[in-house]
């Protein structure tokens, strides 16, 4: 029962908020507050599950076939869900001011809640059909939210591109689902069976492609720069921060649960990560729009996560799997913070290009500092979260036993160096004074609303704390790593 409670909270909250918005009040601040309350309640409902899973027991809900369940809470799913709810809460508070000039906010908050509902359901799904269903729920909410600023042609185009590519992905998943059902007669995960037969393997391939589209695995990533670049910043924070990563987690669970050998999955992940890292960092270097730069940075960071998890699975190194999850957590905080800061710059100073960020330190010193913290963290500068993550990834990675692992590690190090080429100039731009002759308007010092300051400060503090005291967070990822490692054996 505990398992379904967060989902019920979120879904029920979505409908409730919509009714409130249509019938009672359309005030942005009030809706934001109520939505944040729903997130908080869902977090509270999630909390007992952490305790329950600590002993290795996996709570279930629902009956599906013989002995199957609808939902099963495993440590990794809880970690991802917890991050999603926390980030969602901060994004909602931020939206309390950020959406001041938008319309149709009565659909925004319910859609956000449905987005997170889909996410939580997807990572906790215990069978393929529920996974597909919740993934679709999450995706549809995401498509609409990306195109939320529907008066802008670019936003509609981005949302439409995301819709088409995402739908191709989910349809492929459905096809794969039918192949697996044809061979095994069941959809429950994990499948207790020996080596997968040809139909199951075809189905597995379909799932890899389908979920790979959504988790931005090169070359299926092409929707990401547009979607994350043109969505409202609060939504970009959610998308880049946790949605892409949650789909990746679901991908891992599905592959390992369907009998894909851990060693082969690890090899595949390492090879794919090479492309993600290089392409993400390489293309980020040439961007002129801030949000597209951050979007490509997400592709690169996904590459790092894939590398660490790949090394952990291929060479049986639990530390590397833990490092991958830690990087997932750290990235959620840092990328979320980066997008929210960019949103503040856009909201108050109408800055979309990187060059327009000049003078931020003079006008909004707090935003400049927190944005720098996020970027420095992503670049891996100690003592921030990104450095601790890099340390753990490296300490797991040097335990790789052959050439492929070392190649991946070398590419990882070179890429983190390459990434400095766009992170550092961006930090520099924030602290450069605006040049009036270049056409960027100079504004007086700006008072930023508390609705926006609070999430910025909380996330900034989190990035710092995760870097200074990573032990606590590392322990949190241990359960997820053990579970995933166990799935692969």
């Amino acid at each position: 029962m505990w398992v379904v409670l967060p989902l019920a909270c979120l879904a029920g909250g979505a409908f409730a908020i919509y009714l409130v918005a249509r019938l009672l009040t359309a005030r942005n601040e009030l809706l934001a507050l109520l939505t944040a309350l729903v997130f908080a309640t869902a977090l509270g409902a999630l909390a007992p599950l952490f305790r329950l899973t600590r002993a290795g027991y996996l709570p279930r809900w629902g009956h599906f076939g013989s002995g199957g369940a609808f939902l099963r809470a495993d440590p990794g799913a809880l970690m991802v869900a917890g991050v999603a709810l926390g980030l969602g809460m901060l994004v909602t508070v931020y939206s309390g001011r950020y959406l001041a000039f938008d319309d149709r906010i009565e659909s925004y908050y319910p859609l956000l809640l449905l987005l997170v509902t889909g996410l939580v359901g997807m990572v906790m799904a215990a069978d393929l059909f529920n996974l597909y269903m919740f993934c679709e729920l999450m995706s549809i909410a995401a498509y609409v939210l990306v195109a939320f600023r529907h008066r802008l042609a670019t936003a509609i185009e981005a949302g439409f591109k995301y819709l088409i590519m995402g739908s191709v992905g989910t349809v492929t998943m459905l096809l794969g689902l039918s192949f697996i059902y044809r061979e095994t007669g069941t959809l429950a995960l994990p499948l207790a069976m020996g080596a997968p037969g040809p139909w199951s393997r075809a189905g597995l391939g379909c799932f890899l492609v389908g979920l790979g589209v959504k988790s931005a695995i090169v070359p299926l990533h092409t929707w990401l720069p547009d979607a994350h670049g043109r969505a409202p910043s609060s939504i970009s924070a959610m998308l880049s921060g946790i949605i892409v990563q949650s789909v990746f987690y679901a991908l891992l669970k599905v592959c390992l649960g369907l009998g894909f050998p851990a060693r082969d999955l690890g090899t595949l992940l390492i090879v794919l990560s090479l492309f993600n890292m290089t392409l993400g960092n390489g293309l980020a270097l040439v961007q002129t729009y801030t949000k597209r730069l951050l979007a490509y940075s997400t592709i690169a960071q996904m590459g790092y996560i894939m590398l660490s998890l790949g090394i952990g699975l291929r060479y049986d190194v639990p530390m590397a799997i833990q490092a991958g999850f830690f990087l997932l957590l750290a990235h959620a905080a840092m990328k979320g913070l980066a997008f929210l800061c960019k949103g503040v710059c856009h909201f108050y100073c109408n800055a979309t290009r990187i060059a327009e960020l000049r003078g931020t330190a003079a006008r909004m010193p707090l935003v400049a500092v927190t944005f720098s913290v996020a970027l420095a963290g992503l670049a891996g500068v100690p003592p921030l979260a990104g450095f601790a993550a890099k340390w753990f990834v490296l300490s797991g990675g040097v335990q790789a036993a052959d050439a492929l692992g070392f190649l991946g590690l070398a590419v990882f190090l070179l890429n983190s160096l390459l990434a400095l080429g766009y992170y550092l100039p961006l930090i520099g731009t924030l602290f450069t004074s605006a040049d009036p002759s270049e056409g960027t308007e100079t504004f007086a010092s700006v008072q930023i609303s508390l609705w926006m300051v609070a999430p910025l400060l909380i996330l900034g503090a989190l990035v710092l704390v995760m870097g200074l005291y990573p032990g606590f967070w590392l322990n949190w990822t241990a359960g997820a790593a053990t579970y995933l490692h166990g799935l692969g054996r």
Partner: protein
């Protein structure tokens, strides 16, 4: 926590506390920034000397506590004889640089940040030498880089300071990454990140020993600016504000030497390091000759002294590469003496630039009569760097060459001796061009603040005293050498 540990914490804590408090100064408090920074630097130096009696008694002041138990990461500080000379050098150079800044830096509302970054730079250097575990070592190593990079990017001279800072960061970071990989391999091999585990002995496969040593040496040679990894140095030294240049050249370059002494030379035996003798000696020789030739060719007086640093680091690497007692002792002594002389030369160059407003050697001349005190100081510096007795560098160069002649590679040693003729050439040519000869058109000499001249004279005196009374410093170095190469001295 006894008195020794308290002094140990003060060495790092005083500058760190000042660096964190300085940005809070507002209004009239800005004028106090220089005094606070000077006090912190003085405290740090005093604390270092306060621990000298404890070291001479045979104690080893140390401080350590658990940080991330699951990853076996402890944070430890540790002061032994190997650390001591480097720490004293660095603390003294910082104090002198801060005093020089009192006269050099133009006061404005950003001055507290300048001093704060300067102190953070110092903390990075002190922390690197004091760190007894890999995590802290790497964090302080990166802190050195981040602080100095920020100083160059914000207060550097010229339009290109942003590009120069980026080049400096990326180049040096590449070296840091190589060091990090080697540290990770050691961390995996010993199971913990503490250096005490390394001191107890580490067994690695021969191929791994070669890889680790290669990465360490290349990584630290980037920091020491050995040809061809020196490319960051001329621009960084030329563009940086003078106090930063002094600290970069006199103290930070020697951190590479410390790294080579602390890691490959202390962990592995002479037999394991034998393949690296010739490469290191050759690299040192090439660097020495290249630096001297470039110093002869350069036109900007700051760049001349910068290339002189490249040349002198070549001597040091040559001495380290001989793996003989004389060579390594000479190299360590050279670090200290070079710090004195290089700081002296840069201060004099700063005085010349401040007095005349000119940097190109072709536009200078005949200043001997107008600035007699500076002329004497720079004469002392030039003679010292050329290795003339009774100045200090004569002793260390003698030992380095002696070490070279103790190896089987007499040819290389002869070449190094001949290379020192080039040092004499550029040193005397430099002094002759600036202080003798006819004065060019329109060359005016302004009065110099005594606060800038005083440390210069002090350093000149130290160069002489160090040469006449080498025993105390030599004593420290000798103690430290018993800790290297398996205590085989």
């Amino acid at each position: 926590m006894n008195i020794e540990t308290m002094w140990l914490v003060t060495i790092l804590g005083a500058p760190l506390a000042a660096a964190l408090l300085l940005p809070l100064l507002r209004g009239r408090g800005v004028r106090m920034a220089g005094w606070i920074a000077g006090l912190a630097a003085a405290l740090s130096l005093a604390a270092t000397f306060a621990l000298l009696p404890a070291l001479q008694r045979g104690d080893v002041p140390a401080l350590s506590f658990e940080w991330i138990p699951t990853a076996h990461i402890r944070l430890s500080l540790h002061l032994d004889w190997l650390t001591f000379p480097f720490l004293v050098t660095e603390a003294a150079v910082t104090l002198l640089a801060v005093v020089y800044t009192w006269g050099y830096h133009r006061q404005d509302e950003r001055t507290p940040f300048f001093y704060a970054l300067l102190l953070l730079f110092a903390v990075g250097m002190s922390g690197t030498t004091l760190a007894d575990d890999m995590f802290l070592f790497y964090i302080f190593w990166e802190l050195m880089l981040v602080a100095s990079c920020a100083l160059i990017a914000i207060w550097g001279e010229g339009e290109r300071r942003g590009a120069v800072a980026l080049k400096y960061f990326i180049f040096t970071h590449l070296g840091s990454l190589m060091v990090l990989v080697s540290l990770m391999v050691l961390y995996t091999a010993t199971g913990s990140d503490s250096f005490s585990a390394l001191r107890a002995g580490v067994t690695l496969a021969p191929a791994l020993v070669t890889t680790v040593t290669t990465f360490f040496i290349i990584g630290f040679c980037v920091k020491m600016a050995i040809f061809p990894l020196h490319l960051w140095l001329p621009d960084a030294h030329a563009v940086a504000p003078m106090p930063v240049t002094i600290m970069l050249a006199a103290a930070m370059l020697s951190m590479g030497t410390y790294g080579i002494l602390r890691f490959p030379l202390s962990i592995f035996s002479p037999a394991q390091l034998a393949p690296f003798v010739v490469p290191m000696m050759v690299a040192g020789l090439v660097s020495e000759i290249y630096g001297a030739l470039m110093a002869l060719a350069e036109q900007d007086i700051k760049r001349i002294i910068a290339y002189s640093s490249v040349s002198q680091m070549g001597y040091i690497l040559f001495g380290l590469g001989t793996l003989t007692y004389d060579g390594v002792a000479g190299a360590t002594l050279h670090v200290i003496y070079h710090a004195i002389v290089k700081a002296l030369l840069f201060m004099c160059v700063g005085l010349v630039i401040r007095a005349t407003g000119r940097r190109r050697i072709a536009e200078l001349g005949g200043l001997g009569r107008a600035m007699p005190l500076v002329a004497i100081c720079i004469g002392v510096g030039a003679l010292a760097i050329a290795g003339t007795p009774p100045f200090c560098i004569f002793a260390s160069e003698w030992m380095i060459f002696s070490g070279g002649f103790h190896t089987a590679h007499i040819g290389l040693s002869v070449l190094t001796l001949l290379g020192s003729l080039l040092t004499v050439a550029y040193a005397l040519w430099f002094v002759g061009r600036i202080f003798f000869g006819a004065r060019p058109e329109g060359l005016t000499v302004k009065r110099l603040p005594w606060i800038m001249v005083a440390p210069t004279v002090l350093l000149a005196a130290l160069a002489l005293i160090g040469g006449l009374f080498p025993a105390p410093i030599f004593d420290w170095v000798a103690h430290g050498l018993t800790l290297i190469l398996g205590g085989g001295w």
